[in-house]
Symmetry: C2
Subunit: 204 residues, 2 copies
DNA sequence: CATAGGTGTGACCGGTCGGTAACAAGCATC
DNA sequence: GATGCTTGTTACCGACCGGTCACACCTATG
């Protein structure tokens, strides 16, 4: 009678429900802004079950960040299957994919938001966040290098900063702020690094 | 005897002490991570005095954000006095100033951090943050235009995103992450917009 | 000396937080 | 039917939160 908030009906385990619910609530209320009891109730279960699966709230936070990380990994797989053996197309596809994310996800990056929100420097989430962000940047740099773009480290860092900046700009000033020109800024940066290759006689 | 934590001795008023202490503690612990009582004690006063000057914690938050805004305004004044009538030098000076800020302030932008942390969309701080960020971007765009750089809106947004991205990257991955190449990325973007002007036969 | 305004003190309020204990209920397997 | 595992329920704990109260204090001005 009081059971389903359209979540418990499915055969999803309590654990899965807790994680996905926590993801959503951390996003909308902030990690510090929502309590474990509210998460458990929203996931159609209770606090005791939550604590049987996750030793602490911090553990649950880390789990949700791992989920967010794995979703980002799926994006890379999608790129390499859609443009196999064409790294330059993958770079362009990365921009397009990020534009789409930006439009559909106004809340910024879960990992970056957690980094801002969790000030305790020894929080286990920080290690997760750092390794994730570093890996993303590394992968982007390799892609730029494979695509024959000049100064792949600089270009990867530029694109990384543009993306990160676009996401926090969306939070602060909405989609009519600097984020509105994210795509143009990325394309311009990429073409600049492509042009320099041609000038050096390497490319095309 | 127990009075000074090296703060109350000076003739600064309790109000000033509260604001400056709150700025520091919000930065190090997060707005949600520090209580009004702890702020009052760290400012060598008490909670009652705090509430006599600020009606609520939210009011105090807004006040600290206004202080942060005014510090940013001082940076613009400094630029225009150091390079009067030379907008292009001011653009370059903006980059240098931001590089310095980035190196000395590892905690990111107070305003942006507050925007991430405060999820209640009706929080009075959000209006402050939006108007501040919009004004910063606007001023940068005007400067780029005066400097004769092409597509000043795109360049201003690019620089804004690079700055914002560099600041959150510093939080997530330290000063060896993408933020390490913030200056090079900015200079490259600026010179690209300068080059296009020359190509069009306008400049120099 | 009297007054008044800003300040300090400590207790208090209701609420929420993360986390735990004890016990009942469901459910599959043997 | 008995076993054991996962779940649900309720109450509880100590701590902290934002915010208020009543009252004492200090100091400057009249």
């Amino acid at each position: 009678m009081k059971k389903s908030t359209a979540k418990a009906d499915a055969k999803t385990s309590p654990r899965e429900r807790i994680v996905s619910t926590a993801c959503a609530l951390f996003r909308s209320h902030g990690i510090r802004g929502i309590g474990v009891d509210a998460i458990a109730q929203a996931a159609d279960t209770n606090k005791m079950t939550l604590y049987r699966h996750f030793g602490s709230k911090d553990d649950l936070v880390c789990e949700t960040l791992k989920v967010a990380s794995s979703k980002a990994a799926a994006l890379w797989d999608d790129l390499s299957t859609r443009f196999p053996g064409n790294p330059r197309a993958q770079v362009d596809g990365w921009v397009s994919a990020r534009v789409d994310c930006l439009a559909s996800e106004p809340y910024g990056c879960d990992l970056a938001n957690a980094a801002v929100e969790l000030k305790e420097s020894d929080h286990p989430a920080h290690a997760l966040i750092e390794s994730f962000k570093t890996a993303q940047r590394q992968r982007l740099e390799e892609l730029c290098r494979e695509a024959g773009l000049s100064e792949p480290e600089l270009l990867a860092d530029t694109l990384s900063m543009l993306l990160e900046g676009a996401r926090v700009s969306r939070i602060a000033t909405g989609d009519q702020g600097p984020a509105a020109r994210f795509e143009r800024a990325c394309r311009a940066a990429i073409s600049a690094h492509a042009a320099r290759v041609e000038e050096a006689g390497v490319g095309h």
